[in-house]
Structures are given as structure tokens and as C-alpha cells.
Assembly symmetry: C2
Homo-oligomer: 109 residues x 2
DNA sequence: ATTATTACTACGACAGATATAGTACGTCTG
DNA sequence: CAGACGTACTATATCTGTCGTAGTAATAAT
């Protein structure tokens, strides 16, 4: 199992990555994360929705209601220009973070 | 700056890595981390000592007092066999974690 | 005597992740 | 047509690791 403490700093980044491709909503994002990682990582619903709130508050995403006439109304999220900037920064940060952690990792048998 | 939320899941691993080489104490470990990362990452004292407590409680490290006659008595830490096992697991986990996060990282310009 | 350096300890606050539970709406099946 | 199932959330409370702040303790240097 993957400890979520590591992903912690990147759950926002994961969501933004998916929103870069197209606007989406909670359930779909959750499913995509599962698929893309072959079920090795799943973001809990509460984690996901609290991330949406955080991202909104920071101006990294906007939301609007879907127009579906059947089923419950979805809240769609859209990445903002600020969100794109933030995403890029996190990607750069990741390179550094990886280097740092790997200084303390040994391949042992 | 490196967000400590990412390192979060690996601060224990970092400490164990250093204890694999030789027994050590808080201040020295703190300095080594700074050196090894060219000051790009520093573990706060409180974070460090709370990690020692956690590692002790889990049986991953043992402690004993130094015999220095000058200066304050140091508490030395020693990694246990369980600590070594745990360290190895975390190293394997890291490989997976890295793969997962990198699925969501793009090199953009 | 005071300051610097080393080596901690205590305490409280905060943020992100998560468990648990519940709401709301629609489709499908017997 | 009732009840299960799937989708799409919301609310609340708790836990854990990190960190700010502050204080203690011992010795060496000035």
C-alpha cells in the first residue's frame, strides 16, 4: 500500500493534471485516478472534495453546474490560469523533492 | 522551497538511512541532512525529535546515553533489525510512489 | 560574567487525510 | 411499484506529522 503521507503534497497536483486535459467532476476524477494507477492509489472521496475546496479558495479552479437533465446535478471544475501556473511550479518542485528523497534511498536486497 | 508535506512520509526513512551508517544523535543527524541536501532541505528540531520518539515507540531504533565528559550528555540512537526491515520496505514503497506521482507530472515550459 | 554553541524538551496550533454517516437523485430488476 | 444499486456529493469529527515558540541544560570561548 502506498502511504498517503507521501502523496499528501501532491493530491492537488494530481487533480490539476486531470483538469488540464478537460473539465471534470468528482466522481470522474476519482475513477480516472484509480484507472491510471491500476488501483494502486485511490483518493478517498472526502480527500478529493476537500481538495476541491482548497483549490477553489486559492483560485486554482473554477466550478459550474452541469446541464444534465437526468441524474443528480454535477459540479464541474475547470482549471484557471493561476492553477496552470501552480501546477507547473509543483512539477518543478517534484524534480527537486525526488532528488532529495533519493539521496536517502538504497536499493537493498 | 521544498514542501514538507511530501517529505512527510519519508522523514523516518531519512533518519533510518543515516543510522544505518552509524549510531548518531539529534544534532548530528540534523546537520548531516542539511549537508547532504545542500541546505535544500532541513528537518526542524521538533520534527526530528518527535520522529525519534515515534521510531522508538515502534521499535525501529534503540537509544543509549553517550559517555562524553564535557558538554551535555547526548542521546545516541541505534537502528534495530526491525528498523532495517522497515527501512527496506519504505525504499520499495518509494519506487511505487514515485511511479504513481510521475504519471501526473508533465515537463512543461 | 556574558555570549555562543551544542543538545535537547514541552506545548500548542494547524493542515491534510480519513472514517463514518447521511443526503439526493435516477435507473434497473423482480 | 418497491427496493436495490449506482452516481454525486456534504457534514462532522478525529488523527497524525509538522512547525512555531519558548525554555532548559551544559560547556567553551571571549
Amino acid at each position: 500500500m502506498i502511504s498517503s503521507d507521501v502523496i499528501r503534497g501532491y493530491s492537488d497536483t494530481i487533480i490539476l493534471y486531470l483538469l488540464l486535459e478537460n473539465d471534470s467532476y468528482g466522481y470522474e476524477i476519482s475513477k480516472k485516478i484509480k484507472e491510471m494507477t491500476d488501483e494502486k492509489f485511490t483518493m478517498k472521496e472526502t480527500t478529493l472534495y476537500s481538495a476541491f475546496n482548497r483549490l477553489s479558495k486559492n483560485g486554482y479552479i473554477d466550478s459550474y453546474h452541469g446541464t444534465e437533465t437526468q441524474g443528480k446535478r454535477r459540479t464541474y471544475y475547470k482549471i484557471t490560469p493561476e492553477g496552470i501556473t501552480y501546477y507547473k511550479e509543483k512539477c518543478k518542485e517534484w524534480i527537486l523533492t525526488k532528488e532529495i528523497i533519493e539521496k536517502f534511498i538504497k536499493e537493498m536486497n
